[in-house]
Symmetry: C2
């Protein structure tokens, strides 16, 4: 694996220094001063050394983003740097862990300095906000692929898993759901949004914010949690399966942004429904279909979905309030297996939508 | 990211079960019973949870293997599974860390069951020998790319870094050097080896053995260490740079296998030297050039190169003897910067060879 030059040997200005080897170039962009006393040794040896706090457990997650699958080849590298780390921090948030360290495996088709500068700007801007230190990396040539491993820390026994939901618990979600998917639909011409609405939703798609502070605040309060990366109903099923329970959700209680609420209202006014779908081009859904898909199956919002006992409602609201994140109670865990969604009239939806495959960063 | 089915839901026989989704298929091959009490939660949640031992530090490394760069597209998947983990364990060995946990990011062009079965067989065979638990993974479609992150553990403050070498220290290496490169040269028709010799060297190329036990035994004995993945002289320079020292090596002391020793002897008998090199096809070196390149610049042997004070010679030999690995004293750390190699006559080599780029697994 490539290793950095010793400290001090690369102290030239990247903008004016002569061209260097691929590895030296990349080390220049990835190596930074370390401000975390628990990092005994950062980038530049065979491996990094970190010192966990006494009595802590570590939480580990890895995510791989592949060009052509998770992002398009022309994707903005700064957004990509943000997202490659954000999706991992979201996994830590779902466990209630405090992010600590990250490692990056990175295949690049070329050693473009402009690309690297922007990618690392996006990566480190997010890392700095959450006190994450990049302690290791491997860079190589190849089809573009970004593989981030994150390590979080929490007091032993306090992690929130998927397996703790109990019949009678409330189901909650943070923020609003479906924004990233609606933004993508608008960008691709499958939905009409005002410029202002698109701008407000686009940031959800391109620069998702991991709910790190909320996850930490929910330790000892939530009975189960995960992050909504593939869509609410699909992801919630993982909690239900792991906890061997079911759930009934209240469609009208699921929090939505103003543009998505407007899409629902417009669909209701025009009485647009499934009967008109057959006349649409492939991949185009009716406004109501699209609105439902965004809310129930839209991935990439990276909100938290969690369960908690009804006795903990005040604690949930206090925890969320303390970190300034909205949460909404959207349903109930049931002893009966399966996931059901009731509409405004109290009727169960006949079928739950599934998300399109899509590129989150174009 | 993909997540596993809950325990018990995939308890069908992989050989007879009906075809499942790509992710379910892969989870089937990667999820196994966990025998490590420190793993509080393995594959199947948003992240894994592990409990480090009290008073320990963690050692973290990542390596990315890319098809077309580190291995050929037809590479034996079982060897690839071994190697993807072995190169990481070698980094931990170089720090003196005990391997504990691993995470795998994995892009695959298809979900071939045969490929996955063989890849995981190779990966888990090595993992089991070193008590490594795979605690996390992400699988996706894409150009084949294997990104392994490993976490090792050691008592706080006992890691062996690259920065501790002092003038007067001995330079040591484990095993024999150059075997993997010589095997590759023979496979590619650039060197003649008997079938028996090739068979004995080929395993060094295809199934490198990380020197984990030796690394652990050298804690408190070696002053600096790294693994020889890119060639002795190139890698040793990292120790010299990090420790701000130089070294002089004794060519004849560098341990070599019988086939590589025979190549040196044959070259000496035929008085073959650099003067004949201009008549060779591109990429072909004279026997002496090839022998020198294998010994001094051959990567992929994954032996350890380390330094230790002369007063610790008996301790080094005892540590190596206790784990059954040969070590050889090959030179001396100097206050004078730079790396020099003396030949049998005591003359300094005018130039040090560099390795070819090559595919380690074809």
């Amino acid at each position: 694996m490539p290793h950095a030059d010793p400290p001090g040997s690369a102290a030239t200005d990247p903008a004016t220094a002569p061209a260097r080897s691929e590895f030296a170039l990349i080390e220049r962009y990835f190596r930074r001063p370390v401000h975390d006393a628990a990092v005994r040794l950062g980038i530049g040896d065979d491996a990094a050394i970190v010192a966990p706090a006494a009595g802590s457990e570590l939480v580990l997650a890895v995510d791989m983003l592949v060009e052509g699958r998770h992002f398009l080849s022309g994707a903005d590298p700064e957004l990509l740097g943000h997202k490659a780390l954000a999706v991992n921090l979201s996994d830590l948030a779902a466990m209630g862990a405090r992010p600590r360290w990250a490692l990056l495996g990175c295949a690049l088709p070329d050693a473009s300095e402009a690309w690297l500068a922007a990618f690392t700007r996006g990566l480190f801007a997010l890392a700095d906000r959450y006190d994450v230190t990049l302690v290791g990396g491997d860079t190589t040539r190849g089809p573009r692929n970004l593989c981030v491993t994150v390590v979080g820390e929490l007091p032993a026994g306090t992690a929130i898993t998927r397996a703790g939901a109990k019949a009678g618990d409330d189901v909650w979600v943070s923020g609003t759901l479906g924004d990233a998917m609606l933004a993508l639909a608008a960008i691709e011409g499958r939905a009409a949004l005002s410029a202002a609405s698109l701008a407000s939703l686009r940031v959800r798609l391109e620069r998702p914010e991991p709910r790190v502070a909320l996850g930490i605040a929910l330790r000892g309060v939530a009975s189960a949690a995960l992050d909504v990366s593939d869509g609410l109903t699909g992801d919630l099923r993982h909690i239900l399966d792991a906890s061997r329970v079911g759930a009934t959700l209240d469609l009208t209680a699921i929090p939505r942004s103003a543009p998505l609420a407007a899409l629902f209202e417009g669909a209701a006014r025009s009485a647009d429904d499934d009967r008109t779908a057959s006349g649409r081009p492939p991949g185009h859904r009716s406004p109501r279909e699209l609105a439902l898909a965004c809310l129930l199956a839209g991935g990439d919002d990276y909100e938290l979905c969690f369960t908690a006992a009804p006795a903990r409602r005040d604690d949930v609201l206090r925890a969320a309030g303390a970190v300034g994140i909205q949460v909404a109670r959207i349903g109930t865990v049931t002893g009966e297996a399966g996931l059901r969604v009731r509409d405004a009239a109290g009727a169960l939806l006949a079928a739950l939508p599934s998300a399109f495959d899509h590129f989150a960063i174009g």
